[in-house]
């Protein structure tokens, strides 16, 4: 099927005029911590273009590559393409990938860091899709390295509702059981888990002080505000998971939360900036 171009302008206009109300200046104030380019392994999705990026009005977006979901990806090549595509998206930060089950991961890491300005270096891992978990020695080694070098790491915890996945091509979630231990062992680590839901945050991840979450799978009526009753206010960021999810959910979730000014600003961009360093 032919690729479609993401048309976000109409939604941005609609968002700004919901029921005649202006949003709290969504344009150019928001940081989206979870965006993707490239071909999704299962769905035909629209592609971000510079114009659609501008229409969404993000201050900054952290962009990964759907190709990294594959267990056979060449991450060095993928990251090179990602950096090139990000160069055409003002405000974008390349969330570069590694597959720690591949022998080449150290080489891929050095290539990723060498090609990226240190202040904008960011890694995004998909352990469960690549067949390893928190106990894998390479992940322990990488996280220790990231902690020592103040390199922020995103880990995708899940990819799709288990009820809607294709039985023949499952996208398994990552166990969260070991996360509190890792956070305790590496207190300087800047780790962000993507696609966590509110129950997981409140039950399995409770007390993880140096752990950031994104908003893509936080649900419930005013769900972000509800989570902030149980989760540190400086450890939650906005993430859309677009284009797998509609990007329009990102500013709408912030609007629905109805947060007071300081909390609003923290969630909109300050927490993300602190994580990225």
């Amino acid at each position: 099927m032919k690729r479609r171009t993401l048309l976000l302008s109409s939604s941005a206009i609609a968002l700004a005029r919901v029921h005649g109300e202006e949003l709290a200046s969504p344009a150019a104030t928001l940081v989206d911590c979870q965006l993707y380019i490239g071909d999704h392994p299962r769905r035909d999705l629209p592609q971000f273009t510079p114009s659609s990026w501008a229409a969404l009005g993000l201050k900054q977006g952290w962009v990964g590559h759907f190709g990294a979901f594959s267990s056979e990806a060449n991450h060095q090549a993928l990251n090179a393409e990602l950096r090139q595509r990000c160069a055409d998206l003002p405000g974008s930060v390349a969330a570069q990938s590694l597959d720690l089950s591949q022998q080449t991961w150290r080489r891929d890491l050095e290539a990723a860091l060498a090609a990226t300005a240190r202040s904008k270096a960011l890694l995004r891992l998909c352990p469960s899709l690549h067949g390893y978990d928190w106990k894998h020695p390479a992940l322990g080694e990488l996280l220790t390295l990231c902690s020592q070098r103040s390199l922020p790491v995103q880990v995708v915890a899940k990819f799709e509702d288990a009820r809607t996945q294709r039985q023949d091509r499952p996208l398994p979630p990552l166990s969260l059981r070991e996360v509190p231990t890792i956070c305790e062992r590496l207190p300087q680590l800047r780790l962000m888990l993507l696609n966590i839901n509110a129950t997981e945050a409140q039950v399995q991840l409770r007390g993880c002080r140096n752990l950031w979450l994104d908003s893509a799978m936080i649900e419930g009526a005013a769900g972000l505000a509800g989570l902030l009753g149980h989760w540190p206010k400086d450890r939650l960021c906005l993430g859309s998971y677009a284009p797998f999810f509609y990007a329009a959910a990102l500013p709408l979730k912030l609007q629905e939360a109805g947060l007071p000014g300081l909390d609003h600003q923290a969630l909109a961009h300050q927490n993300a900036s602190a994580f990225l360093g």
Binding site: R4, L7, L8, S10, S11, A14, L15, V18, H19, G20, E21, R43, D44, L45, P46, E160, D161, A162, R163, T164, Q165, R166, Q167, M217, I218, E219, G220, A221, A222, G223, G226, A242, P243, F244, F245, Y246, A247, A248, A249, L252, K253, Q255, E256, G258
Partner: protein
């Protein structure tokens, strides 16, 4: 654009009473510009409710409606496992009371003709019929209907409009299943805001058979509104989905009851 939400609940919302929860839900809905909310099922759910539980849950919705009659529209919770009790609830809550629709959940699959007396009476009353559906990858609950089950029911009542709750959840399959049954309408609520659901629904069913709903409080209004606001559709189609289609489907019973459209 006017927004009417087809699919809301009292569960998952803060508050100790139905009135408090309805108030909390409306305060959040106000932030999103949502004008009216369809409400069904009570504060604590039961998958296979007894007649007493059906009555209690409907009582809670009635209390919420009484507190906010200008904003909330009630659907009576019924079960094909208890036809007589459900018919009694239909009389109490719709024929006599203020409710305007019928909610069927997961007690019994809807393809079974045992449900037909309930549908006949709901149609007499012009009550809008909402049937929860899913096609779960890991398997449905024993009494959980699929969109194909609903097609079987809809074929027996071709003149009665019905809503396919969640579009089957696994919407790529669900929308395909219902597309050729013209009295079935797709509810967008209660699944992740996966790109393409709304565009696909409009392509397969036409924009006149697609309705916005949230499944709040389990879901956020935002993620579900994003399915419409973020869709690659005309503003005219979005207006239909956000309120026009639901207002059209509810207009016979709202007019009959003298309620505002």
């Amino acid at each position: 654009m006017r927004i009417w939400d087809l699919h809301c609940h009292l569960s998952g919302v803060p508050g100790l009473s139905p009135e408090e929860r309805a108030g909390a839900l409306l305060r959040i809905a106000d932030r999103m510009g949502i004008e009216r909310l369809c409400l069904y099922m009570g504060m604590r759910w039961a998958k296979n409710p007894s007649p007493q539980e059906l009555r209690q849950q409907n009582d809670e919705v009635l209390r919420a409606l009484k507190a906010h009659p200008d904003r909330l529209l009630g659907f009576v919770y019924t079960s094909a496992e208890h036809i007589e009790a459900s018919l009694a609830e239909l009389e109490r809550c719709v024929a006599v009371g203020p409710m305007v629709g019928v909610k069927l959940w997961v007690a019994k699959r809807c393809h079974d003709p045992k449900i037909d007396p309930l549908i006949h009476r709901a149609a007499d009353l012009k009550a809008l019929i909402f049937q929860h559906t899913w096609i779960k990858t890991g398997g449905n609950e024993p009494g959980e209907s699929t969109p194909a089950d609903l097609v079987a029911l809809a074929k027996r009542f071709p003149a009665v409009p019905m809503i396919c709750g969640h579009s089957g959840g696994n919407w790529e399959l669900g929308l395909q299943a219902i597309k050729d049954q013209p009295n079935l309408h797709a509810d967008l609520a209660g699944s992740d805001p996966t790109w393409g659901i709304t565009e696909t629904a409009c392509r397969l069913l036409g924009p006149g058979r697609v309705l916005y709903g949230s499944d709040c409080g389990g879901r956020s209004f935002a993620s579900q509104l994003a399915k419409v606001h973020g869709a690659d559709l005309s503003n005219a189609d979005k207006e239909l989905i956000l309120s026009g289609n639901l207002r059209r489907l509810l207009s016979p019973i709202l007019r009959a009851k003298g309620m505002a459209l």
